[in-house]
């Protein structure tokens, strides 16, 4: 019996995606391993495995470095990378706009303002900087949400415009604070550019909130697919559009706020990674979200590795690294895929 054409095609995508996922997982493992092994204190791969399984050994300084500095930093990069990529993927789907990234909601600017205030009033970083950033992000989230919602319906364009407007507003407040803060300006700037430098288990504890949030979008992969036809058509096909938008918008904003609060503003991961995933496996969200998550973590761990080793012993902000590699790549993609 002749096989219908579509089956061949579907099988092709399935087979291809197994290969892609295998490769992505392998890349993630290799990147993680490399990030754990490479640094000012170099460790052999065998040592890394050894340290991981034997736990922290008080007498061994390398073990202390591994457990107090390197491991939490890598875990944080994994979490933040996945969070930003997934938030970007959700927002691009919801906004039907390939230029959306986690920062369009204004949540990151709110978090940045919160952090700047914490630095300005000279509160200790732990826990206050993180707390202020999360609070700033959440306040922004609810403000934007309130502006965009009318008669129970959330208008996605009003949301975008409100987010962008609030970002500008917050930035100007922040600029005033920075000018008046004197010596702390470089700390603020460094923080704004995004970095995992000096982050430890305290930040990891905060960032663990990301884990349950990462699961949520996967429950809505069918709805996200259908929403790519527009909100009207999604309603016609039976999707409770308002509920889905509300949940996913809040999840994406929370992922962003938590990420920004522990690592500052790291650009381009949330924009480019979902594109890359879509180009590789098509727009179907079940596959696209999974791949975004894996790629987001990989990219972030590698970027952080570059950030701390490229000009060792001094570090560059990881946000600089992601933009440095992300921008040319994105322009390449724009040229390759017109329209």
């Amino acid at each position: 019996m002749r096989k219908p054409a579509y089956q061949g095609k579907t099988m092709g995508l399935q087979k291809r995606s197994s290969w892609v996922f295998a490769a992505a997982i392998l890349m993630l493992l290799v990147a993680t391993f490399a990030a754990l092994a490479i640094g000012p204190a170099r460790m052999s791969p065998g040592k890394v495995v050894d340290y991981l399984f034997s736990g922290r050994t008080a007498g061994d300084p390398l073990s202390v470095v591994f457990w107090t500095i390197r491991l939490p930093r890598v875990i944080l990069a994994l979490l933040v990378g996945a969070a930003l990529a997934l938030a970007g993927a959700c927002l691009q789907g919801l906004l039907l706009n390939p230029l959306a990234d986690p920062y369009v909601t204004g949540v990151s600017s709110g978090a940045a303002l919160g952090a700047t205030i914490a630095i300005f009033v000279k509160l200790p970083d732990i826990p206050w900087l993180t707390v202020f950033a999360v609070v700033g992000g959440l306040v922004t989230l609810f403000t934007v949400y309130g502006i965009a919602t009318r008669r129970g319906q959330m208008n996605i364009y009003r949301l975008l415009l409100a987010g962008v407007t609030l970002s500008y507003l917050f930035f100007s407040v922040q600029a005033v604070l920075m000018i008046r803060s004197g010596g702390d300006v470089h700390r603020v700037i460094y923080w704004l550019l995004g970095s995992f430098s000096g982050r430890g288990w305290n930040e990891v504890e905060v960032a663990l909130v990301i884990l349950p949030l990462l699961v949520v979008p996967f429950f809505f992969s069918n709805e996200l697919d259908i929403l790519l036809q527009g909100e009207g058509r999604a309603l016609e096909l039976g999707v409770e559009v308002e509920r889905v938008k509300r949940i996913l918008f809040v999840v994406a904003a929370l992922l962003t706020a938590v990420s920004v609060s522990v690592s500052g503003i790291i650009g381009f991961v949330g924009l480019v990674v979902p594109h890359l995933a879509r180009l590789t496996l098509g727009p179907g969200h079940r596959r696209m979200l999974t791949l975004s998550l894996l790629l987001g973590s990989t990219v972030m761990v590698l970027s952080d590795l570059i950030a701390r080793t490229a000009f060792a012993p001094s570090e560059i902000p990881v946000g600089v690294v992601t933009v440095f590699f992300g921008a040319p790549f994105f322009i390449y993609m724009l040229r390759r895929r017109p329209g």
């Binding site: 095609k9 009207g232 096909l237 999707v239 409770e240 727009p283 179907g284």
Partner: protein, 410 residues
């Protein structure tokens, strides 16, 4: 209990009223076509039925329950809609597009349903292709398949054929007829009134947000209804077993000139329509009943002098003909074959010419004359001018119209 029951619904977009107190009921197995001018509320009506819009006043019941008391998923299992336009900016395959229609049937087996649908619509070979690489007609078939994958009780369509070529149009409507015969209720908004006449059991015509008339297609789409709702002159024809409509141009310059065609055997039909569309007042005679010229003249509502079928023109018909000729400003003799039966028509031309009427006659009378006497009858008739074609008839009439003697005094 009707499937859909709209009761005195009112709806406005902000301050612009779109639907004014409209009531409509759709029963199980109905095959209802909805027509109406642009802006008469057709698309809004579908959105109100599908609960995408909530009425300001009045009630919309689906199987006896208010539409807004349904969950979206539940409603999608009852009603499916084929939208007026459908765009997708992402690279899904055509099959994936259809599968999205199964969303409201979550938990039910879907693969077999989709396969059966694709096969039935004859598009399974295209299903693996990227949706956006398909032609407009193919896309529309897949959007229809997406709606049918919902396995709805009612299918609502919003101008589904407007972007389709004739073959896809017919394929689509044939499919709808077939589905309807299997029990699917179909409500379809469309612009093409002839497609509506061809396919629908029942029609509703909207005007300014209200139901203007509802009933059998030939009643709803009568020239009178069309004139009052669309403001367009329409004619209903029955030909080759079909009923169809034709329309006159919207701008009909007033030509108060009255033209009487002496014709028969289909030689006058196209001139009748052409002169009418140009704004002349037209009459014709003597034509035999059932002859093409007589049928056309009757469908166009012209004053006619008619004779029984295949019958020699009687004196009374001739007198009627002469009365119409006298009332006219210009007489036109078409390329009518002349035989013993209609020789009186030639006599009528001569008499009219002698009474001072201007006459335009198609040349070549001898070749069409089976009596050998027509040319002689016409020779020397005053005011008779020969022209070579229908085009020259029109030109000649325009000249006469423009010559001042016939311009109305007022």
């Amino acid at each position: 209990m009707p499937l859909i029951e709209l009761d005195r619904i009112t709806f406005s977009y902000d301050d612009t009223p779109a639907i004014n107190g409209l009531s409509l009921s759709v029963g199980e197995g109905d095959f209802l076509g909805i027509v109406g001018p642009n802006g008469s509320g057709k698309s809004t009506l579908l959105k109100l039925i599908d609960g995408l819009l909530a009425p300001d006043q009045g009630s919309s019941l689906i199987s006896g329950r208010p539409a807004d008391q349904y969950g979206r998923r539940e409603l999608a299992r009852k009603l499916a809609i084929v939208p007026q336009s459908y765009t997708l900016d992402f690279d899904f395959t055509a099959r994936q597009v259809v599968e999205m229609g199964r969303y409201c049937r979550k938990g039910e087996p879907g693969r077999a349903v989709v396969n059966e649908l694709l096969e039935r619509m004859g598009v399974e070979a295209l299903a693996g292709r990227p949706f956006n690489e398909l032609s407009g007609g193919e896309k529309q078939m897949f959007v229809l398949a997406q709606a049918l994958a919902q396995q709805p009780e009612v299918l609502l369509l919003d101008e589904p054929a407007s972007h389709l070529d004739v073959s896809h149009q017919l394929a689509l409507f044939d499919m709808l007829v077939e589905l309807n015969s299997e029990g699917l209720t179909v409500v379809c908004v469309l612009h093409d009134l002839n497609l509506a006449l061809l396919y629908f059991k029942r029609m509703a015509m909207l005007s300014e947000g209200g139901l203007f008339v509802e009933g059998a297609p030939e009643e709803v789409l009568s020239p009178e209804m069309i004139a009052s709702v669309y403001g367009v002159q329409a004619y209903m024809h029955k030909h080759a077993g079909r009923t169809f409509l034709t329309f006159s141009p919207r701008r009909r310059p007033a030509r108060k000139l009255r033209v009487h065609l002496i014709c028969g055997g289909g030689t006058g039909a196209s001139l009748m329509r052409r002169l009418l569309d140009l704004g002349y007042r037209v009459s014709a005679g003597v034509v035999n009943a059932m002859d093409t010229d007589e049928v056309t003249g009757r469908e166009l509502g012209l004053p006619l002098a008619a004779e029984a079928p295949f019958t020699t023109i009687t004196d009374s018909a001739h007198r009627e003909n002469m009365a119409l000729a006298r009332a006219a400003d210009v007489i036109v003799l078409t390329a009518m074959p002349v035989g013993a039966g209609n020789f009186k028509n030639v006599v009528a031309v001569r008499q009219a010419a002698e009474s001072g009427k201007q006459v335009l006659a198609l040349s070549g009378v001898e070749e069409r004359d089976f009596t050998q006497g027509a040319a002689a009858e016409l020779s020397g008739a005053p005011g008779l001018r020969y022209v070579a074609s229908d085009d020259e008839v029109v030109e000649g009439l325009e000249e006469i119209w423009e010559s001042s003697s016939l311009l109305p005094a007022e």
